[in-house]
Amino acid sequence: MRERSKTTWMERVLPTLSVIGFLIVWQLFVDIRQIPTIYLPSPLAIAKSFVSMTEDGSIFFHLSVTVLRIFAGFLVAAFAGIVMGLLMGMSRLFERVADPWIAALYPLPKISLIPLLIIWLGTGESYKIVISAVTAFFPIAMSTFAGVRQVDPGLIKAARDLGANPAQVQLNVVLPASIPSIFSGLQLGMGVAIILVVAAEMIGSSGQGGMGFLLINAGQVMDTERVFASLIVLTLMGAFIIKGQQWLDHKLAPWASFR
């Protein structure tokens, strides 16, 4: 028993220690070797830059703009992707019609649509939301489709045997049975929505702000502390969103994690 609890204690403390140790080594390395800030700022310099961005509120502005865009794009993609995936899975005709379109558009790197979308939509909000929605749509639709197709036929037989009609089978068996796949599609979709929003903000986003804009702007004026501080904020934002999504999935479908 003592051996066991000792291990858990180590397991708990070591990850934190490794981060603190890394930061100390980094700080010492920059101080002793006198590395120019423009190449590699010290952790303390980055922290100072972060504090100044929170004091003038700019970080909160850029962060909230980016988060709003991510959610806007994601929600559009989630709705369209789930509907598309369900229709493809439940209707053979629909699947046949959708197949060539998906086959052609799924492997296309969505980022290559940016020039076209800027010509059509300009560099405003709609362009950023559309590019992230289009990108997130595919993994969500494909996972939903796969989930519907992989429903255990035994469950469908059992439901029919218990008197469910075809519509009841779709609603009460096929749909809930697909939920784990839909959720994993939504997680993939969220990941690419984050990437595409930040990328879109980097390209032609001078007026509207956002974390991508903040990064590219700081990079262009060689403000390396601000680049690092923004990167850290961006990392934390991504982690919070993905963890929050996992937490929500577990709350909504607790049975999925028992399997």
Partner: protein
């Protein structure tokens, strides 16, 4: 309700274009209120027969008629008088035990209060009290099979089809479940078709045991089990049980050998 099965033949088409005859010329009259076991080697089409009787799969040829004395109106589709208990239970993993048991009534539009009241009574009677809010994956195999039994019994249909329901359970759990099924049969006297590959299970439970041949599945012999009811597992130590066991064993030994030989043939590279 009597079940009249006439000349049922079932053919499966394989992916490579060849055909497998699972059942051939199966005719039998399952009498109302009787417990009939179908005993046979793997691949003899015994599960297929249960699915045909339950209206879950259509037969390639032949007919199944459910005869009801008190039904004068138009015949109902096959399956509406029966309910199946599956070997792998087929419980819905996203529904709690209570929600699984109430599924059929919910589909039929029964009010929540009424269906939950009925389900709670059945859950208690199969010994799952306190597990209403659990998900199937949180229960053991035996408990899941109890839940599956409750989910079938709540439909209150006159015919109970059971496709190797205890096949995947460990030996002790199996005995407990068999005794419980005997008790339920005593109380409800449904017409039961019970598919199994276990000789002692078939004799312990059944009024009749239909011994099947290897593929293509035909009836080899029908053994009448004239052991008194109510029965319990102690029966397996009696001489009468031993006599019936020997009879069934000798009938089935050749068929199992044949089935194994055929499986080797199918498994061999062509």
């Amino acid at each position: 309700m009597n079940i009249d099965v006439k000349d049922v033949r079932q053919v499966f088409s394989l992916r490579n274009g060849s055909e497998v005859v699972a059942l051939e010329g199966f005719s039998h009259r399952f009498k109302s209120g009787q417990f009939t076991c179908i005993l046979g080697p793997s691949g003899c089409g015994k599960s297929t027969l249960a699915q045909i009787v339950g209206g879950i799969e259509p037969a390639t040829q032949g007919s199944v008629k459910i005869e009801s004395e008190d039904r004068s109106s138009a015949p109902v589709p096959l399956g509406s008088d029966s309910v199946m208990v599956w070997q792998n239970q087929n419980l819905f993993p996203w529904r709690t035990i209570l929600e699984n048991v109430t599924f059929g009534l919910q589909m039929a539009g029964v009010s929540r209060a009424e269906r939950e009241q009925k389900a709670t009574r059945l859950i208690n009677s199969v010994g799952l009290r306190g597990f209403e809010k659990h998900f199937p994956s949180q229960l053991s195999g035996g408990m899941r099979q109890r839940a599956a039994l409750a989910r079938a019994l709540i439909m209150d249909r006159p015919i109970l089809l059971m496709d190797e329901p205890f096949g995947a359970l460990d030996a002790q759990t199996k005995i407990v479940m068999q005794e419980e099924l005997l008790k339920i049969f005593e109380e409800t006297r449904k017409t039961v078709i019970f598919v199994t590959h276990s000789i002692d299970e078939a004799i312990l439970l059944g009024d009749q045991v239909i011994v099947m041949t290897a593929r293509p599945g035909k009836i080899k012999e029908v053994i009448t089990v004239d052991l008194p009811r109510p029965r319990s597992f102690d029966l397996v130590n009696t001489p009468d049980f031993g006599r019936l066991f020997d009879k069934a064993f000798h009938l089935i030994r050749d068929e199992v050998t044949k089935a194994m030989a055929e499986m080797n043939l199918v498994g061999a590279p062509s």
